[in-house]
Structure formats: C-alpha cells, structure tokens
C-alpha cells in the first residue's frame, strides 16, 4: 500500500500501529507483553511508558545517526535507551508509585525490550527525525494497543474486572434486576467465579496464542480479499 509512495509521517505511523504491529506482526517484546498484562491499567501504563522511551530514543538516535560510528552503534543505542528508561523509571516512581510498584522490575527491563532496540537499529538509524518520531509513535501505540487488549481480556476473565471495575458483577446484577422488574420475579443474581488461571502464567501464554490465531485469521482473510480485488481489477 505504502510501498510505492514516499514514506510520509502518516504512512509510517499507521505502518507501526497496524500493518507491522510489534506484537501481532513482528512478535517483538514478548516478555512484558506476557508478564504484566494481568490488568488493563498495567497494560496501558507499560505501553505508554514504552512508547515514551521509544519515541525519545528514536528521535535522539535519528538525530545522532550521522555522528555515531557504525562500529559502536550497539553500545551507543544501549546507553541512549538505558538513559531514557532510567528517566521514565524515576518519573513513574515519583508520580505514579502505584503503577511503578505493580510493574516492578519490568520497567527497568524496558531496556531489553527488543522493540526499542529493533526500531533503533532498523529504522531510526536510517531515517530522518520526523519519520523516526512517527515510527516510534506508531510502534509504541501499536504495542500499547496490543498489550492493553491482552490485559483487558485477561483481567475480564481472570478477575471479572476492567481497569479495576467489577464489570461482570455489575452487568449480572443489572441484568437480574431488569429481569426481576420486568417479569416480576425475585431471582438472585448469579455470582461470577473468576477464572484465576487467566491472570497467571499459563493464561498469559494461551491467551496471546489464541489472540494471535484470530489476528492471523483476520489478516489472512483481508489479504485474500485484497488479492481477489486485484484479480478483479
């Protein structure tokens, strides 16, 4: 789609967000994707923190791309990324201590999140700053979207909540009340028994696996459709 055209801010951004989504298409950054996605807020927080680091590191590396010698680029990337991660870490500790506590050691581990490294190596080091920001934003938000989605699924089934709100209980109660009111019954609302394994390790692996199957199915269907269209044209 964007292959033949010159890359623009928007095309690069969308590429990261959708077509080359770091989680679903590139399979990068699996550790945080699986480890912290037990609550929607965790996913969102981790995603935004990673986005921030990604945008900053992409920008800086893109600016410095003609200064950094090719041979020492890897250590240079590491220093740049680690500095930003440290900043974010300290900022979170100071201003959102609850999130910082629940993400724990996975914040410093953003350093070794391969998304950031991979984008620095394969995009920011070769492209101008504006495009690099677009790439960072797109990739970061794509990652945020993916892990927030995963978090929400796991939180909903595993704890019956969404972003800490007991959604299922509320829905069940409201539904029962409505039925009771409409049909003049006195039913007791069923109690949702959260499936705790979803918030544990096996749940993480399996949910992501099933999500990937679905995403692949959708993208394959889309590709087939596109191919069919091309044939028609």
């Amino acid at each position: 789609m964007a292959k033949n055209k010159k890359p623009t801010f928007l095309s690069v951004f969308l590429n990261g967000l959708i077509f080359e989504n770091p989680t679903f298409a590139l399979m990068l950054g699996m550790c945080p994707t699986l480890a912290i996605t037990i609550a929607g807020s965790n996913g969102l927080g981790m995603g935004l923190a990673t986005t921030a680091v990604l945008v900053c590191s992409n920008l800086l590396i893109s600016i410095l791309r003609n200064v950094i010698p090719d041979k020492v680029r890897i250590p240079a990337f590491i220093v740049v990324i680690a500095s930003f991660v440290t900043m974010i870490d300290l900022l979170l500790k100071a201003y959102i201590p609850a999130l910082s506590a629940s993400l724990g050691m996975y914040i410093p581990l953003i350093v070794v999140n391969c998304i950031i490294f991979a984008r620095a190596e394969s995009f920011a080091f070769k492209n101008p700053p504006v495009l690099s920001i677009a790439d960072g934003l797109g990739m970061g938000l794509g990652f945020t979207f993916a892990i927030t989605l995963l978090s929400c699924i796991r939180e909903l089934i595993g704890a019956g909540k969404l972003f800490g709100v007991e959604v299922i209980r509320l829905v069940l109660e409201a539904g029962t009340n409505w039925i009771n009111a409409t049909f003049n019954l006195e039913l007791v609302a069923p109690v949702y028994q959260p499936m705790a394994i979803m918030t544990q390790v096996p749940g993480g692996f399996v949910t992501l696996g099933i999500l990937l199957i679905l995403v692949n199915a959708i993208s394959n269907a889309a590709k087939k459709k596109a191919a069919a269209k091309e044939v028609q044209a």
């Binding site: 028994q193 394994i197 544990q200």
Partner: protein, 330 residues
Amino acid sequence: MRNNFAVASSPHLRSKATTQRIMLEVCLALAPAGIAGVILFGWRAALLIAVCVTTCIVSELLWQLVTRQKVTVNDFSAVVTGLLLAYNLPASAPVWMAVIGSVLAIILVKQLFGGIGSNFMNPALTARAVLFISWSALMSAADPAPISAIYDPIANFVGKLGAGGIDVLSGATPLNALNAGSTEGLSLMSLLMGTHGGMLGETCAIALIIGGVYLCIRGIADWRIPAAFIGTVFVCYFFMGGAEMALYQLLSGGLLLGAFFMATDYATSPITGLGRVIFGVGCGLLLFVIRAFANYPEGCSFAILFMNVATPMIDRFTMPRPFGEVKKHG
C-alpha cells in the same frame, strides 16, 4: 485366468487390536471406580460423569465438523477423557465447571495439537489442573454432595463396612491429615472401600486396583508405569514414615487413579519400556516431593503433568539401539 487381484505391500495380516477396542477396554476398566463413586457420592457423581462424557464427545464432534476433519468420536477416546476428568472432580463440583473442563480438555489440549495421539499433555489432567488453579475452593473435596435417598441404603451399607460410617464422607481428603503426619481417624478398610473424602472417582482403592490390574493383564497399560510409580512413592514414604505411613499414602488421594489410568495414557508417556520406567519413577518422586513439601496436598496430577512435559525428552534419550548395533563409546 483372473487378473484383478488386489495388490498391496506386505504384511497382509493384521491383529485384532484397534484403537477403538483399546479405548473401550479402558472404559470398561474405569467402570468399577465410577460405580463406586456413584454409590459413595450419590446422584451428583452420576450427573458429573454424564456431563463430562457428553461434553467431551460433543465438543470433539463439533470441532471436527467445524474444522472439516474426519470425525473420530467413534474411537471412544473422548469418552475416556470425559470419564477421567469426571473422576478427578469432587462430587460437589458445579456442572458448569465440568463443562468448561471438558471443553478445555478436548479443544485446547487435544484437538489444537492434532487430535488423538498428538497431544503432549494428558487432556483430562490438564483440564483438572486448570480448574484447580482457577477455582481451588470449588475443587477441594471438603464439601461432598448430599447423598440422595435412592442411594442411601447402599451407601450406608458400604459406609458401615468402613470405619466411621457415612460421616467420614464429609471430611476432607485423608491426605490433609496424613501430610500433617497423623493417621488418626483413618483405617485401611475405609481407604480400600473409599468411604472417605476425595474426588469422586479416586476414593475407592479396590475398584481402581481391579480396573488397573485388568488393564495391565490385558497388556493395554504397560505395567512398568504403575509399578515404577507406586513403587517409588512407597519407597519414599517408607523411608520417611515407615511401612504403615507408606501404605496409607498409597491408598489416599489420586495416586492409584493417576498411576493406573492417567500416567499410562499412551500419547503422553514414553514409547519405550526403559522410558516408561524412568517416567514412572519420575512421577513417583515428584508426587512425593509435591505431597510432602509443596502447597498442594495432592501432587498426583501435577507430577504426571510435569512428566508429560518431560516425555519427549525421555523418548529422545531412551531410543533403543537397533538389534546388533554396537555401542559407539566405551
């Protein structure tokens, strides 16, 4: 002159054994334990068994229809899975849990990996573990179902053969007491007859032994696995607490059910004799470690599951040398 004879590659003779027959015989061997469960725990046990078996069959059928595969429900493997899962539930388990467990066992553990023979973990056990981790309170056997009036006389009769009569049924699995180091309130007779708390198919040791020995004698289950498994557990507990303790441990919890029926699951145990011995010993050691030191009072399912995971590795390292092949090193 006749020119139309069928042509095929040798051999031209086949044994009578079929997958279907094997699975049917496993069902048959499982029957005594199920009947005992129904007698001991009442109609809820029968209900759970029916629900599990039906759900397993239906989910396998639907899955194979939806994914347009050959329908193989007639091989009875789904029935075996359903029975085993039901036997691993407390009689008090809610029906929806049985349904979820059965669907997970068939779809997630078995069919996603290619169906019968391709799964690397025992479907029933994995499903049980998922239920156990998710809803541990509902999965503990502390609260057995009320015994319905229909079965009361029989249950009473069986109960009186045991030590404490029917009241024992309301107790938790004997492992809780055993692991705390006491055999108080337990008798070997009650353990054998199954008149104590536990999962609905695991309490009656006699029924399990009858079924298990039948499987071993018929050559359907390899005797090496239960022998190595039970033997290892016995030895471990013998050195820990003496012969009596060891005997009580053998007859309590899911050990017999696991050793005879679940550890011997073909797809998830090694294919060679040596591998099967290693597998059995590994199960026994892990069961001992988990029962004695870990959170869960019942280590059987996790011990077998872990050895399931290790099975491909065991298979890899126990490949027999072809007849006449000389050892290359040493």
